[in-house]
């Protein structure tokens, strides 16, 4: 992960109608708080990051239906495409990222990979272990109603919170992601 790759990621994501917020770990909670529109639901974040109070965990189907915003973590991000990789889990991340109009995805800068090949390579063993994931690029969309419409069955807005460690924010290469804080 290099500074160039991060800015490539930001460009590609914005080209696909997503917005990227580059923040330090200690700013994550406040950034999410700023980005959510109530009512908001979420799934507890890994990596020692906290959701703001305004985001309710353990949503019911009724909550999912009513929520304006859903907050989840993303496992990887792809610089060439501006995609985030959303892994399914027992906590219901898939539904939380899908039902509300606005999805806030939290991804670590160390988990940005350059291209599709690298992303799929990283996913290979994970999928062989039984995991599922969605490569999500921008909001849902359709061209079936006579014109391009952003926001179809899924979210209409995607906000990506890109979490950068201090040295990453200085533009230094942080090397491969460290094992201690990975979520496996």
């Amino acid at each position: 992960m290099s500074a160039d790759m991060l800015s490539a990621f930001v460009d590609s994501a914005e080209r696909h109608h997503a917005t990227v917020h580059r923040v330090a770990p200690e700013e994550v909670t406040a950034t999410i708080a700023r980005l959510v529109e109530a009512p908001a639901v979420g799934v507890a974040l890994p990596w020692g990051l906290d959701l703001p109070e305004a985001v309710a965990t353990d949503p019911t189907p009724a909550d999912l239906d009513a929520a304006e915003t859903g907050v989840t973590a993303a496992r990887l991000a792809i610089a060439d495409y501006g995609s985030v990789v959303l892994e399914s889990d027992a906590a219901g991340s898939e539904a939380v990222s899908l039902f509300p109009e606005r999805h806030v995805a939290v991804v670590r800068a160390g988990d940005v990979v350059p291209g599709m090949r690298e992303a799929i390579e990283r996913l290979g063993d994970r999928l062989r272990d039984g995991a599922s994931a969605v490569l999500a690029t921008g909001p849902s969309a359709t061209a079936d109603m006579g014109d391009l419409v952003i926001g179809a069955h899924g979210p209409r807005a995607v906000e990506i919170v890109l979490v950068e460690e201090a040295e990453e924010m200085d533009g230094h290469d942080s090397g491969p992601d460290s094992e201690e804080d990975s979520r496996e």
């Binding site: 062989r128 999500a136 690029t137 899924g154």
Partner: protein, 756 residues
């Protein structure tokens, strides 16, 4: 039914579709096609990704049985079930048992269309809702898809607004109108059905044997809801969807959206390894948390959720037989991206309701329908592939789609003969004129066009009388009635003096052996030799001005086989190819370059001869042949002096030229040479963006297709309507441009050739 009656019916049906659906289809498909060009341009490794994708499919289809076994192990190890259905009846019976009359939501799946699964489920009382917005529109309208990727491309926004208003009894005040309002409305309605669903049915774009993962490529998000909300997921896919590993997905993910709709990637590529770990969203218990309380992101990600059930139904339905078919096997490499539909002139005009069968549409539909439904279904629309070949570079898995159409056409020709259908009263006449390798009952129009070479020889020998007779009104009437040759078109006028005769009469080569920069044969193709002799003379003069010792041997005045090939007369084409090879290879062996004027003949040499001749011969012919402007380009690059050629300055005020490259020439990447040469000589070139002019050899002459052919050419009249000087490389493009613009186009070689 007589042929002329069925021709009239075909013409009427096409006219109806042009009027009712043509505009919406044209706007959508041309938009997708433009998007594809832009989107693949961003990929540095586009060609190598295509080759990688192709290689993966070749290997996977080769190993289908073994990969299905591996996939079964993976799916069962995850706790799912895999069932291989031989035919629609078996597939539907299996799904019906799982569904058991419950509520079903579906995401878009062509394979379930092929099975008529919805009808089968509804017969059991199940409520089945399509959740893809396009598919839902068609479900409400009770129509069939007109495009494999955008099923409702034939519907306009206004049409959809009316449909919703009518179906749901909305009054003028609250009826949705804008695309945005229509989408909202549909989302809300469909969410209600998704909440109630007991089973979600999806297709699969790819299935990875090593993990049991299925890939779903979508943008709306409905496939995600379909798979995640109900606790039971049924995926239905053809056996050809299996690929060996997860890693093999990478090139397809990069190519599929770009090729189809011009999106570099769709909003969602779901990689589901079902039964998935996500908890079902049970709206029956709307107030109980979806997951265990306190669960955090990443928990249990690799464990199937205990309440989930998954069934994968793999459908054979003719595919394993296709796999054994050396000519049609490639069909199974198809990833259903839709690029062959979008890049096709005919499809852009008329859409999949004409250019399609029971389920599939566009160029590759011929292969699918022949394999899945049978030749009769493929025969209904196979004529609409003109062999223009514009889909070939567009196809992400490098399928030779025109060849599949040619082979199927050949089989249809032969099948027709077998049931002894009559061929009209002039059939015998045409038969006598044109001895060929084809079955006796072959449609006489096909036979006539396929044997154009014989006709041309006769035409030149008896010109100008032949032209007068052919154009006489009663004759045109009879041609229309019996052969289906439209009265609307001018017939090609044969020249009394052929190119070969002209060259001989002029006294042979003019550049001496000693001074020659190179030696070349100008290939007197049938059109250049008998009809468009001017461009042949221009080619000779141009090459001579550049120091080439040119000959035009009588021995090489033989057809390439292009004409019979375009009619699906493969054996006749093969015989012609052999004869042409025997004429050209001695020239090549003697160190002479073969210069070809007609792009469709060069395309035969470079693309089809490998199907018709031994590989070695085909390669030698292909290597020895050059398109005329490509050859001029090479000469100029190697230092030939363009001083003798006609520059833009010499041409006075006629320096701006509009140029329509020939479809097959474009596929061979010839366009840049012509443009470069013209620019080097000072011309300002405005190149057409149209894939094919719509004439496509004999296609535009056929009564039933005349209107379609003119419609396909419409963008050319829009772009070139005001052009002062129009250049076109192909003879049929020339005729079409003449018909569209009212003034004849010249071959680019005529623009640059020295004066006579």
């Amino acid at each position: 039914m007589s042929k002329s009656k069925s021709r009239a019916e075909t013409a009427a049906r096409i006219r109806h579709l042009l009027d009712t659906e043509g505009d919406a289809v044209a706007e959508n498909t041309r938009g997708f096609n433009r998007g594809r060009y832009e989107s693949v341009r961003e990929l540095d490794d586009y060609e190598s990704l295509k080759s990688a994708a192709r290689a993966i499919k070749e290997d996977a289809i080769e190993r289908i049985p073994e990969l299905i076994d591996e996939l079964r192990e993976s799916v069962e190890a995850n706790g799912g079930h895999l069932y291989v259905a031989a035919d629609p009846a078996e597939a539907n019976a299996y799904v019906r048992e799982v569904v058991d009359g419950g509520n079903v939501v579906k995401s878009k799946s062509m394979t379930t269309e092929e099975l008529d699964l919805n009808d089968a489920l509804e017969a059991d009382g199940a409520a089945v809702t399509e959740t893809d917005l396009g598919e839902w529109v068609l479900q409400l309208a009770d129509e069939t898809p007109s495009h494999i990727v955008g099923p409702a491309v034939h519907k306009s926004r206004e049409g959809i607004a009316d449909l919703f208003a009518e179906t749901f009894g909305l009054d003028d005040d609250d009826r949705p109108e804008t695309a945005e309002e229509l989408t909202r409305f549909a989302r809300e309605k469909l969410l209600a059905d998704i909440r109630e669903a007991e089973v979600g049915v999806t297709g699969a774009n790819f299935l990875a044997a090593d993990s049991g993962t299925l890939a779903l490529v979508t943008s709306e998000g409905n496939a995600r809801k379909t798979a995640v909300v109900p606790d039971t997921h049924v995926a239905v896919a053809g056996v050809e969807k299996v690929i060996p590993t997860v890693e093999d997905l990478a090139p397809f993910v990069e190519l599929i959206g770009r090729s189809g709709t011009g999106q570099d990637i769709t909003s969602y590529v779901s990689l589901l390894t079902p039964p998935v770990s996500s908890p079902p969203v049970d709206f029956g218990e709307a107030d109980s948390p979806v997951a265990e309380r306190g669960a955090a992101g990443g928990d249990g990600a690799t464990d199937p959720h205990p309440d989930r059930e998954f069934h994968l139904v793999l459908v054979d339905n003719g595919r394993l037989d296709l796999r054994e078919d050396d000519d049609l096997r490639e069909t199974l490499y198809c990833i259903r991206c839709g690029a062959c539909s979008n890049s096709c002139g005919n499809f852009q005009s008329v859409g999949g309701h004409a250019f399609g069968g029971e389920t599939y549409s566009g160029g590759i539909a011929t292969g699918w329908e022949a394999g899945v439904e049978g030749l009769d279904t493929a025969a209904e629309f196979n004529d609409l592939c003109t062999g223009c070949s514009r889909c070939v570079p567009a196809c992400p898995v490098e399928i030779d789609i025109p060849w599949i159409n040619t082979v199927v056409r050949d089989r249809i020709n032969r099948g027709d003969a077998a049931d002894g259908e009559g061929s009209g009263s002039v059939g015998f006449l045409v038969d006598g004129l044109t001895p060929d390798e084809e079955p006796a009952g072959l449609d006489p129009a096909k036979r006539l066009f396929g044997n154009f070479e014989t006709l041309a020889k006769l035409g030149s020998a008896t010109a100008p009388l032949s032209n007068l007779v052919a154009n006489a009104r009663p004759v045109r009437g009879a041609m229309d009635r019996w052969l289906g040759i439209t009265r609307e078109r001018d017939l090609p006028a044969f020249e009394r003096e052929t190119l070969v005769d002209w060259f001989d009469a002029r006294g042979g080569p003019r550049v001496s052996e000693g001074l020659a920069r190179r030696e070349a044969v100008v290939y007197p193709d049938v059109y250049t030799n008998h009809v468009a002799v001017d461009r042949g003379r221009a080619a000779v003069r141009t090459l001579e001005a550049l120091g080439v010792r040119v000959t035009v041997p009588e021995s090489t005045a033989v057809g390439s086989g292009r004409a019979p090939l375009s009619q699906g007369m493969v054996e006749t084409a093969r015989r012609k190819a052999e004869r042409c090879r025997d004429a050209l290879l001695p020239e090549v062996d003697a160190g002479r370059d073969v210069v070809v004027i007609e792009p469709s003949d060069l395309a035969a040499f470079e693309r089809e001869y490998e199907r018709l001749l031994p590989a070695d011969d085909a390669e030698r012919v292909a290597d020895g042949c050059f398109e005329v402007l490509e050859y001029v380009y090479g000469l100029l690059e190697n230092g030939a002096d363009p001083g003798g050629l006609t520059t833009a300055e010499d041409a006075g005020g006629r320096a701006r030229v509009a140029y329509h490259p020939h479809c097959q020439g474009k596929t061979l990447d010839l366009e840049p040479y012509t443009v470069a040469v013209l620019e080097r000589l000072g011309y300002e070139v405005d190149t057409s963006e149209t894939e094919c002019c719509g004439m496509a050899g004999s296609f535009g002459y056929k009564s039933e297709y005349y209107e379609l052919s003119m419609d396909v050419g419409e963008p050319l009249s829009e772009q070139f309507g005001d052009a002062e000087r129009v250049l076109a490389s192909g003879t049929s493009c020339r005729e079409q441009l003449d018909a569209l613009l009212g003034s004849p186009a010249e071959h680019p070689i005529e623009a640059i050739a020295p004066g006579e």
